[in-house]
Structures are given as structure tokens and as C-alpha cells.
Symmetry: C2
Subunit: 269 residues, 2 copies
């Protein structure tokens, strides 16, 4: 169904309120993510209505959606304010969380599990390209930014690297740095799969959110510079505190920012 | 709290069942995403328990989580099967949905809105770098893969490009291709922000999922090759049908796959 055709002028009135509310919520969410409201206070409903040419009811419904997402609070007499900054995690470079959030707060880790595993689960062993039945290391950490839960990270590491990682400062440091020290080489790359799921009650309790609230569930397989996989992670990230960001290029992943080849030197003679 | 220390052997018994269930669900989700169960049937609980060294109760709880996510169905006497394939959408190149899913099914679009907008919302005009008060074009489409809802996409386009896009075959084609034809040049890049949110009732109804189910909410600002922004999109994607995938490099976004510079030619003479 084409509700309005070319030249249709029903921009304000013709669409259902739910649709206008959703779109207004989208714009506000992006502004919140971009740090657009200095001091964290949103303008009042009337101002928002004027700015976005939306009815008071549509504005209210949009704010209600953002409140349900945990992005804003609304208090009578105080107004509407941003609960917490929403951090962008770049998907254009392989970084650990603490590394990524440098300068934006202090990342601390509650080490829930740090142990050798006599036999890795078969699917994990396959991902790590070690023989079925091989042992390894498991690390689970609840990660906080400035004291507030941000993510729950579970890593399975190959035995050789993992044993050394277990001796490192897991409460303060990214696993990536510890792996690089243990291996004596830089990491190479990681393949990441991002899911969005409703938080199971266990995860929700640990992250301090309601059961069923949307979270990112990332699977990340990280390899050393020589291509060998050493770390397969399952990470749950509070989606009310973190977004993922990427810049995508039309002509392939790495076509635009390569160093230019040197100019062709005219032949002598 | 470190529940198990180095060398701890309580891999099977010592952890709460919810934790083991969550981790098993993570492994199975990844296998489903990777197309790991041919024909769509999962092994029975006993086999899964043996394979993952998990108790029957942990297996049941893991399967229950995946059923809540809409990934599997369980029927007495029939067993457990994958509801739908979960498609990976690459975050390493700027592609439209139909382009991305080439060969995996037929993408069709229900054009819900396709109209000129006399005045773009102020925040949209700012994103598109056009003057406040400028007009533009809005397109909203419900996108289906093989007849089943996959995403709800809303685009605001600049007036010059948008008017030509409105004359194109919006029911069958990606907006990206229509923009390139309208502009006469290739797209350059897009900045993408990915949120995970619970679906509002309006979106949930359109996408055929339960209200509150986790969905991806993407904001994507797409630019022509010369850098000019022409399309700002808000996309909601069913998270039970789609994952996002990326390969991240430790040493920066584009360090590894650049063409090698030509070998230095020895100077003559």
C-alpha cells in the first residue's frame, strides 16, 4: 500500500501516531548516542513537538519508547533526562573494551571464573582448531564502566596461551593485551557475529537489567597474526549503554584508505 | 568472586545451571547461524548432553532460551528443529539487502510510504547537511525474504536524488541502486550505528514478532562518492532472522588487504 504518493502533503497528519512516534524516537536515540543533549536534559514536550513538527501525543509516545529502552528518565517537575551516555564501540578495528573506552571511564572486571578446563566442549574445540578432547582455559568476567555493569564476557582460550593469561591481571586488563604478552606476537584479526537477543534471567540479573531486555550477544573468534585462533568469546553487552558503529565502503572493505602507490617515475632515457 | 581457581576441575558440576545453559545456547546459536544443522533438525537432548558434557536439565534450559528467541521449535514426537535460517549481513561492505541476500531468497518490498516531504525534520536536515526548512523525500518499506517479514526501512533522501528515486521500482529494488542511477555516480560510504532494542508494538505487528522481542535498530547515513550525504535511514531488522558479521583487524581498519605497492625498480645507470 502506498499511503501517500508523490507530492503528498500529509507529512504531519496522515500517518498513524505510532509510526510518527517511532521515527521521532529514532531521531532522539541517535542524538542521545551522539551526545547531542549537553548536560543530559532533553527539551520539554512542547519544544520537541515544534522542533519535529509532531503532536504532543506523538512526542509523549516517543519518549515512552525511549524510557522503556532505559535511555531516559522522566520526572514530574524535573523533566526528561538522559540516564547514561551510550557509548559507541567501533567495528572497524579489533580492540578490547578498556582500550576502546580509554578516557571515557574506568573499566573494572569482576572475575567470575578463571580456570583450566580439562576437556573443551566439542564445538569450542572445533572453533579453536584444536583436537577433540583437548583442554583449554575458560575466563568469565562481569565488566563494569565506572561501577555500572556493561557486559558479561566468557572466553575459551587454547591451553598454551590460556595458562599464561590466567597468571595475568584479569581484574584490570583486557584479555587481548594478556594474549599478546603470552604469545609474544600481536593479534591479527577476529571474526565477529552480532546477535540481538532478549536477556535471559541469569544474564539480566548480572547486568542489572530487566529479564527480556534487548542485549547484544557477540560471538568473536580472535586469531594471532599468523592466523591461528586462540580465543573464542561469547559476550553479552547491555544495549542501553552501548552501540556498535562502523563505516562501510561501497567498493569493498578496504578500498579507500590504502596508501596511494608512489607516482610512476618517468623512464629515463 | 573467583569461583574456580587455576586448575579447578569443576567444569561440569560446579557452576549454576543457568550459566551452563546460557553457554550451551551460545554455542548452538552460533552453529544455527553457521548453517550447522543440515535439514534443520537438532540432535535430541541426550545426544546434545553428551556432546556438550551438560546435564539434561541444562540442555532443556538452553533449548528453551533458543525457543524464546524464535530460533527453534520443539514438538513432542517430532523433536527440535531450526525455524528459519539466520542470515549474516556483512558489516565490511556497503550493500543493500537484496544485493546482500542474492541467491538466498527473493526480497520483496511493500512500499508503505513514498512521498515528497515539504519540510524535513530539523535533525534529519542536519544529518543530510541541507538547510533547515529544506524539503526532501521519505520512503518506508516493509521488506520480506521469501514472503516473510525481515525488516522495516525508513529513508529520508535529499530532494534532488529523492524525486528521481520515487520514479523507480521501489517494490523490487534496493534504494542504493536507485540512488546511484539518480545521481549518476557510485555511492561512497555510509556511517552505521547499530542499536538493539525491544520492538515497539507497531513495529512488532508489522514484522510479525512479539512486542518487546529484540530487534536491531540501525541508523545509516549514506554518502555519494564525493562525500555528500543523500540518504539517512532508520532500519529495524528481525534479530531472529539476521545477524551482523564483521572481520576486525588489530592494526586498523584497512591495514591488511591493501594492494602491495609495486616493487621498486632498480635505477638504471
Amino acid at each position: 500500500m502506498v499511503r501517500a504518493t508523490v507530492g503528498g502533503m500529509d507529512h504531519h497528519g496522515g500517518r498513524p501516531r505510532a509510526e510518527r512516534a517511532r521515527q521521532l524516537a529514532d531521531v532522539l536515540r541517535q542524538q542521545i548516542t551522539d551526545g547531542g543533549f549537553r548536560g543530559g536534559a532533553l527539551p520539554d514536550e512542547r519544544v520537541l513537538g515544534t522542533r519535529f513538527a509532531a503532536s504532543r501525543n506523538a512526542v509523549r509516545q516517543a519518549l515512552s519508547l525511549l524510557r522503556q529502552e532505559g535511555l531516559i528518565t522522566r520526572r514530574r517537575g524535573v523533566g526528561t533526562s538522559v540516564v547514561l551516555p551510550k557509548y559507541g564501540h567501533g567495528l572497524d578495528r579489533l580492540t578490547g573494551l578498556a582500550e576502546e573506552l580509554t578516557g571515557r571511564g574506568t573499566v573494572t572486571n569482576e572475575v567470575r571464573v578463571a580456570e583450566e578446563v580439562p576437556v573443551l566442549p566439542a564445538a569450542i574445540a572445533a572453533r579453536l582448531e584444536v583436537p577433540a578432547g583437548a583442554g583449554g582455559v575458560r575466563v568469565e568476567r562481569l565488566r563494569r564502566l565506572d561501577g555500572l555493569p556493561l557486559s558479561l564476557d566468557t572466553s575459551y582460550l587454547t591451553a598454551d596461551i590460556g595458562r599464561t593469561v590466567l597468571t595475568g591481571d584479569l581484574a584490570a586488563r583486557d584479555v587481548f593485551g594478556l594474549i599478546e604478552e603470552a604469545a609474544g606476537v600481536r593479534l591479527g584479526r577476529a571474526e565477529v557475529t552480532v546477535h540481538a537477543v532478549g536477556a535471559d534471567p541469569d544474564t539480566a540479573g548480572l547486568l542489572g537489567i530487566g529479564a527480556g531486555a534487548a542485549v547484544f550477544a557477540l560471538e568473536r573468534l580472535t586469531r594471532l597474526a599468523d592466523g591461528r585462533p586462540v580465543d573464542v568469546e561469547s559476550v553479552r553487552v547491555r544495549a542501553d549503554r552501548m552501540t556498535l558503529r562502523a563505516t562501510l565502503y561501497r567498493d569493498g572493505p578496504r578500498a579507500t584508505a590504502c596508501p596511494r602507490p608512489p607516482p610512476v617515475r618517468p623512464r629515463r632515457g
